[in-house]
């Protein structure tokens, strides 16, 4: 027990050592030390994948794929949910063997929206918000990050986006801020914006708090979402880069093809990513 205590003591939320990372759900901290290789780079799901499904259907798909980590989107848990509603939804996932490790993507266009996002994240009990704050709200969001001790992972979109068309736009705006300000690197949008995901990983290192993993048909604006492994992203290089920075977070698949019948595509994507992990140990 004293080991565990020391362990927690030495583990700051901003720590990024590969051999331990915290999974926090509803204030209950679970720490994994010296994870076996098979458990590093844990695969999860970005909930947007399940846009057309309710919570039980989503849980069923994740169970079939033996996935246990998810960042939840507001269509499954509205931002203005009551404490009772949050408890009810979290229980559904927990009973299904799923840990909600983050919330988002949450768009923040006003101070009120920033306030709401952090209150929501606190109530849900997650250590990270995946968010898109307007540029002029980043200062305010940073104050909240400090006040709540909750990380903000700003999500990059692709070349068509006004705010964060590529991960460099995020990085440049957070690199000199509190260490809990960082990125949710969306590798599909990044690649469409001409950014090599593995180079982004090496460049932005400890500022990467979350990942949206997908593949795209081409490295241009009109590149389409496709099963992981079928597109143009070099996943071997990507996984090697993640290992190199000792990425301590989750590797969440966001599958945006066949969204009304996504299970086979999610399965292939999860399989491929796990296979690359196994092949690069």
């Amino acid at each position: 027990m004293s080991n565990r205590r020391n362990f927690i003591k030495t583990t700051a939320l901003s720590a990024t050592a590969a051999t331990f990372y915290p999974v926090i759900s509803r204030g209950e901290k679970i720490f994994f030390n010296d994870l076996p290789e098979a458990n590093t780079l844990p695969v999860g799901i970005a909930d947007y994948t399940f846009l057309h499904f309710d919570i039980p259907q989503s849980i069923q798909m994740m169970q079939r794929l033996e996935l246990h980590f998810m960042s939840i989107k507001d269509f499954h848990l509205p931002l203005d949910s009551s404490r009772a509603k949050i408890d009810e939804v979290l229980k559904q996932y927990r009973d299904g063997g799923i840990t909600i490790y983050g919330v988002g993507v949450i768009y923040m266009k006003t101070k009120d929206a920033v306030d709401q996002a952090f209150e929501y994240a606190k109530k849900v009990g997650v250590p990270v918000i995946i968010g898109v704050p307007d540029h002029d709200l980043i200062d305010y969001a940073e104050e909240k990050v400090k006040a709540y001790d909750i990380k903000l992972a700003i999500h990059n979109h692709g070349p068509e986006d006004k705010l964060y068309p590529n991960p460099t736009d995020v990085y440049d705006r957070v690199k000199n801020r509190d260490s809990r300000m960082g990125l949710c690197l969306d590798i599909g949008h990044a690649r469409r914006a001409g950014v090599d995901p593995s180079k982004a990983v090496l460049q932005y290192g400890k500022r990467i708090f979350d990942l949206h993993i997908k593949d795209v048909t081409k490295g241009e604006k009109d590149g389409q979402a496709i099963e992981v492994g079928r597109g143009i992203i070099d996943f071997k290089a990507f996984v090697k880069a993640l290992r190199k920075i000792n990425y301590p977070g989750h590797c969440s698949i966001e599958f945006e093809k066949d969204m009304k019948d996504p299970l086979p595509g999610i399965a292939e994507s999860v399989g491929y990513f796990k296979g690359v992990k196994a092949g690069t140990v």
Copy 2:
């Protein structure tokens, strides 16, 4: 054209150089030279996977997974099929973008069954039969291999099998025979029989003509079929072994779990295997 001719000339059926391998369908030979890495160890399907589905349903699943190679089982093309029936079925697959590269598993308990198997394979136009001849028919089968110039890949089952409980039983019976007598290495059954698939690959090398790829929950008789990557088989070692022997054949997934709703499991298995390939290039 003369290049192609030279190429065919230098390519014996028993050749195992990695940079070229023949895919033969209905007597029409297609040769791939200097395949890009992505196309080596091509993934296919062992048709037993589709036990509960008709041909159009099977084709639809393979198309969704972008799979183009299959060894066909008799429930989709009976051994006593007429020329017209064979043509009709082959056309269905060909129109679906699928090459039938082998037939089987075919059990041969009599000389008549051996005769029928080779006539069938010839009519279907495949270079290999995946088969299980009774021990006392192996001499006779070898005669047929020579007469038809069609390879016989003897399929190992697991520890409960009377004839070929592990791949060593196959190898020992073919190793001093015609070079077209070899194995269809079923890695799941092998692993249940206590044989490490990667060691088997290195040991049996050029005698391996086909693969049934799967994973199992444990290395014992009662090990269960499971999605590739979730079980105990070391796929990194397995793929590295295949590369080492320049395995020239197909890597066919045989998925035997959830057989009435197999698509997600096949997808995960295919994804994982491709991911390991990508991770070990």
